[in-house]
């Protein structure tokens, strides 16, 4: 099995799905000749031509809206938003249209559209190239919001998203693009959307998180093992709709739960995870549920010390796990 | 023939009422379905309301200018059909309404009886409640937080079953106190190596329960006065040796303080009262509870009829009761009937204390240590005087600061002016 980077897993999934299904096409800004500003679509225009790897004008709402129209007409568009921070002009199309089309037409129409967007901080991207936008979509029935953490999950989940008959927001952590590498099978496989994944077994403290923070939690857990603290790590992978069963069983496993997100704390998806635990796990809890998140400021600043202050890192996760272990 | 109603339609998304600006029909008019019958004005629109039926206007109920709520009757129409036109209004709706069959009552489910929530566990620990003996009202017999709070409020708290080893040493029995069991609820205090675990016996637990109850139920207020007892000290020092020789036991300061308190209680009987829920009972008898400490416990035996006793009589009672405590001979009767407590905290050197009321009494007074202190006298001179602090905790439901203050002022006055002339030993 080859070891490839997170972004190579994106490219591989796109390439395989385009080869398998001629209805799959890509549209977005700079996705064609340039191969994407992060190079996620590198080489695809050469292989599939400019009709299937379509450079669009700078026009986020139309990228989403045209994608929706094409999807309703039987295509499987994969739209790229250059940065998740720039998805906001398309939110009306995503929330009022894509999410509601199956429902409002009483199952007459549906939208097999995937919208990819790089998100997340730690890349000196400042306020508008660092945000976590998942909470905007994590209250919208009709959408699925996928946020993988490993190259293996990226490939399996992106292929599943493209094949899904409902709209999927596929958020890729841009810091993970070249930082995270892992084994990825070269054959065709998909992973189920809506299923969380246990990334590490343990019995002292449960960490529930997603995206890049999964790796921070894994590093912290490794270190804490030397101190005799055993950490259980659940990677949500899909943040909407949440895998309630997996959350409940992970919380019950240790009775001490740390929730981690890179997003601002108030109103983030881990708040919902916490609510599920509060509803279902009262008699299994051994400590108050703890949240580790970005501060409630608009976004992370550009200056490195302020960015570092905002960002989650392995040390912050380690400290929070230890506090819970000692509780 | 059938008579149909036409009601005020909802004309607009947020509209709740409409005003009939003009009737376009009158009784006897023949109209067709959808013919306009009235002009209606609302906040949002002005509209002609059409008839929902073909027929003859029978009666106009609402008059022009009248504002009707949506759904209110406008007029009656006599129709030719059998009223089937209205059938559609109920179509689809209400079908499922009668389908909620009652389920057979299940066997009494107690599966949740021992599922204690953190809130219930905490309350149980704080109030020493034996959860095994509590009936839960929650689903599956679960004990709810409310169940526990009600229990505490009622005073009917199930306690552990270890009866006090000796009935004699039980603290004063309370008027409302019913038979209670006591419990040994494990505390959640971590025990570290080297810590000593002391088992809680019945007396200790009874003290704890009474203290908790008093603090929980009686809103405590606290006040203090400083009393110049130089005269008293001189007086007592003059007579103490004679007294000892004559009576065979010591004359302490305590009887003097009790005497002054009793005088004060006579003048301010509200201090000598009890809270009884819907009323306050002012007690006729003045029975002074005195706090007597042993190494590991505190007892409050009672000097009955304290208002009838001289300094000597009081001294004798104090001496007897203290002896009984130390020799473990206190009886239940010795503990009962107290109406006010005097606590001699000064005996171990305290100069300030905040006593907990001996429930259900209304107040407790502690007499602190008599100490020599420089005091500015009325003439501006500084003198060395024997000073004592008297601390009073009061049940604020029964007493307010004013009466408590007056009482204390009176006790202070008596003590400061005490002399052989006005206070004889016998």
């Amino acid at each position: 099995m080859a070891v490839i980077s997170y972004i190579d897993a994106v490219t591989q999934a796109l390439k395989e799905e385009m080869a398998l299904d001629e209805n799959v096409f890509i549209l977005g800004e700079d996705v064609g000749v340039r191969g994407g500003v992060f190079r996620a679509t590198a080489g695809l225009i050469e292989e599939f031509g400019e009709n299937r790897v379509m450079d669009t004008p700078l026009t986020e709402s139309a990228i989403a809206g045209v994608g929706i129209g094409a999807a309703m007409y039987g295509m499987r568009p994969v739209a790229e938003m250059q940065f998740a921070d720039f998805i906001l002009p398309a939110v009306n199309q995503i929330i009022s249209e894509a999410a509601k089309i199956r429902y409002r037409s009483n199952n007459d129409w549906h939208v097999p559209l995937t919208i990819r967007a790089p998100y997340g901080g730690g890349v000196h991207g400042a306020l508008y190239h660092s945000q976590s936008v998942e909470a905007i979509f994590a209250n919208v029935p009709g959408l699925k919001v996928v946020m993988p953490s490993t190259p293996y999950d990226v490939k399996g989940l992106l292929k599943a998203s493209i094949r899904d008959n409902d709209p999927v927001i596929f958020l890729e952590h841009k810091r993970a693009y070249r930082l995270i590498k892992g084994e990825v099978p070269e054959d065709d496989y998909t992973l189920p959307i809506g299923k969380a994944d246990v990334k590490r077994e343990g019995d002292d403290v449960t960490v529930i998180t997603y995206g890049l923070a999964v790796h921070f939690a894994l590093q912290a857990a490794e270190k804490l093992e030397n101190e005799g603290i055993s950490t259980h790590i659940l990677d949500l992978r899909t943040v909407y709709p949440l895998d309630k069963e997996a959350i409940i069983s992970a919380a019950k496993k240790t009775g001490k739960v740390l929730l981690v997100t890179e997003d601002n704390k108030e109103g983030s998806v881990i708040g919902e995870v916490s609510a599920i635990i509060a509803e279902e796990c009262l008699f299994d809890l051994d400590a108050p549920v703890k949240r580790l998140a970005g501060p409630d400021i608009p976004a992370m600043p550009y200056a490195p010390p302020m960015e570092k202050f905002f960002m989650i890192n392995p040390e912050k996760v380690e400290k929070a796990i230890r506090e819970l272990a000692e509780f | 023939m059938a008579t149909e109603k036409i009601t005020m339609p909802q004309l607009g998304e947020s509209v709740t009422e409409g005003t009939i600006s003009k009737w376009l029909v009158e009784p006897g008019n023949e109209i067709k379905k959808y013919d306009p019958i009235a002009e209606v004005t609302t906040d949002k629109v002005n509209a002609e309301v059409p008839s929902s039926f073909t027929g003859v206007i029978k009666e106009i109920v609402a008059s022009e200018g009248e504002t009707l709520a949506v759904g209110d009757l406008m007029c009656y129409i006599e129709t030719e059909g059998s009223g089937d036109d209205t059938a559609a209004d109920t179509s689809g709706a209400g079908k499922a309404e009668n389908e909620n069959k009652q389920e057979a009552p299940a066997e009494k489910d107690t599966s949740m009886k021992k599922r204690y929530s953190p809130a219930v566990l905490r309350l149980a620990q704080e109030n020493d409640i034996d959860l095994e003996q509590v009936e839960g009202t929650g689903k599956g017999g679960r004990i709810t937080r409310k169940d526990i709070l009600k229990l505490i409020e009622s005073g009917n708290v199930p306690k552990p079953d270890d009866k006090p080893k000796e009935e004699a040493v039980k603290p004063q029995k309370q008027p409302q106190a019913s038979d209670k069991k006591e419990t040994a609820q494990p505390a959640s205090v971590p025990v570290a190596p080297g810590d000593v675990e002391i088992p809680v016996n019945g007396v200790r637990r009874a003290i704890a329960n009474n203290m908790v109850r008093s603090k929980h139920e009686a809103p405590h207020a606290w006040t203090m006065v400083e009393v110049d007892v130089t005269n008293l000290v001189n007086y007592r020092n003059r007579v103490k040796n004679d007294f000892k020789n004559k009576e065979g036991y010591s004359l302490t300061f305590l009887p003097f303080f009790i005497k002054a308190v009793v005088e004060g209680l006579k003048e301010f009987p509200r201090l000598n009262s009890m809270w009884a829920g819907d009323k306050i009972i002012e007690k006729k008898e003045i029975n002074i509870s005195i706090a007597v400490a042993t190494d590991d416990a505190l007892y409050v035996p009672v000097i009955k009829g304290a208002d009838e006793k001289s300094i000597k009589g009081l001294a004798k009672s104090v001496n007897e009761l203290a002896g009984k405590v130390r020799s473990n001979r206190l009886t239940g009767d010795d503990m009962q009937g107290g109406t006010f407590t005097v606590n001699n905290t000064g005996s171990f050197g305290s100069v300030l204390s905040q006593p907990i009321i001996n429930y259900p009494q209304a107040a407790i007074l502690s007499v602190e240590s008599i100490v020599k202190r420089p005091v500015v006298m009325e003439n501006g001179m500084i003198a060395v005087r024997d000073m004592v602090n008297l601390c009073l905790s009061l049940d604020h439901r029964v007493l307010d600061g004013l009466v408590a203050g007056r009482f204390l002022a009176r006790v202070k006055e008596i003590l400061e002016n005490i002399s052989e002339d006005n206070t004889s030993i016998y």
Binding site: M54, S61, A62 | V45
Partner: protein, 330 residues
């Protein structure tokens, strides 16, 4: 004898009579909906009245078995021309389970019916314009040579989605017809406060597309313009912006009172050029419509509307719990 215009456009007598019948049916269903609303039987109406000529003229210029439409909430005439029935529309008005648009989930006027090639619509305006562009793109990718027509009001021509979509279609030369039904009011705001340019179609040039403004009360003029746009699109010459100018004869919706912002005189004046009246006059002039034929038509349509009303009124609502269905694929 009036000049026979429809023959020159290649339209048969039967076709123009069918156009008129479609316009009349739309008008009569719309009028009935207002009565039902005022009688308290349906909560909401939004009207096509005054725009039927443009809607029907445009629909007839398309290949209704092949082309796809993304209409807006006034397009009752257009969706009838594409195959929606009076019964379908009444079921929507009464929000009953059989409503093909949404099964009673959406307000009336939110059209959508896959089998008749009508894309589903929402309430935020102009979103459908981008969908038409997407459908046109998909049609071209699939090699189907279809045209996608989308409609919207002149108010919507100010929305970002209009401009983004027009530019997208222009750049990629997609077979889309952007048809602006200019009815002179965006709720209460008149067109002079909506546009700085004289015509909405002036904007076509900015997106490198063909643009034209026509009389929206004349179904034949609209037919001609849309036909030309469709032919161009099929030949790969790209999108077009057609503006049809007419007048909204009713308040914006059943919740609006237009007396607060426009005079009765203005409305009465506009009624004189109502396409339904002028087109009937044309058909009579050319001898296709007679008084007898007209009465027959009116009776037939009245019967259709009555039957549709009764059917829909008596139809079942969807089960309350069915509200949980179709959030995702099931």
């Amino acid at each position: 004898m009036t000049n026979n215009r429809h023959e020159k456009l290649g339209l048969s007598d039967e076709s123009v009579l069918e156009m008129y019948e479609t316009m009349l049916l739309a008008r009569k269903i719309d009028e009935r909906m207002w009565l039902l609303n005022r009688a308290g039987k349906i909560p909401f109406v939004i009207s096509c009245q005054g725009q039927e000529a443009a809607q029907v003229g445009a629909a007839f210029a398309l290949d209704r078995k092949k082309d796809i439409i993304a209409p807006y909430y006034r397009d009752m005439g257009m969706v009838i021309a594409f195959g929606m029935t009076a019964k379908d529309l009444m079921l929507s008005g009464f929000a009953k389970a059989e409503d093909p648009n949404s099964g009673g989930r959406q307000m009336p006027g939110h059209f959508g019916q896959r089998k008749n090639r009508i894309l589903t619509q929402s309430s935020p305006v102009t979103t459908q314009v981008a969908h038409a562009v997407g459908a046109a793109l998909a049609g071209r990718m699939k090699g189907e040579n279809i045209v996608a027509l989308t409609t919207f009001g002149e108010g919507s021509s100010n929305q970002g989605d209009f401009h983004e979509s027009a530019n997208f279609a222009g750049v990629h030369k997609l077979p889309v017809i952007f048809m602006c039904e200019n009815n002179k009011y965006a709720i209460s705001v008149p067109v002079k406060k909506q546009l700085a340019c004289e015509n909405v179609s002036d904007r076509a040039q900015g997106y490198g597309m063909f643009g034209k403004t026509v009389d929206g009360n004349d179904p034949l003029a609209v037919y001609e313009a849309v036909k030309e746009a469709a032919d161009r699109a099929r030949k790969g010459e790209g999108p077009a912006l057609i503006e049809t100018v007419s007048y909204r004869l009713t308040p914006h919706s059943s919740d609006d009172d237009d007396r607060t912002y426009r005079t009765r005189e203005e409305v009465e004046e506009a009624k004189k050029t109502d396409g339904l009246i002028t087109f009937a006059a044309y058909l009579k002039d050319v001898g296709i419509l007679t008084d007898e034929k007209e009465k027959e038509l009116n009776d037939k349509i009245a019967a259709i509307v009555d039957e549709a009303t009764d059917y829909a009124e008596n139809a079942e609502y969807a089960e309350p719990e069915s509200a949980l269905k179709y959030v995702y694929e099931e």
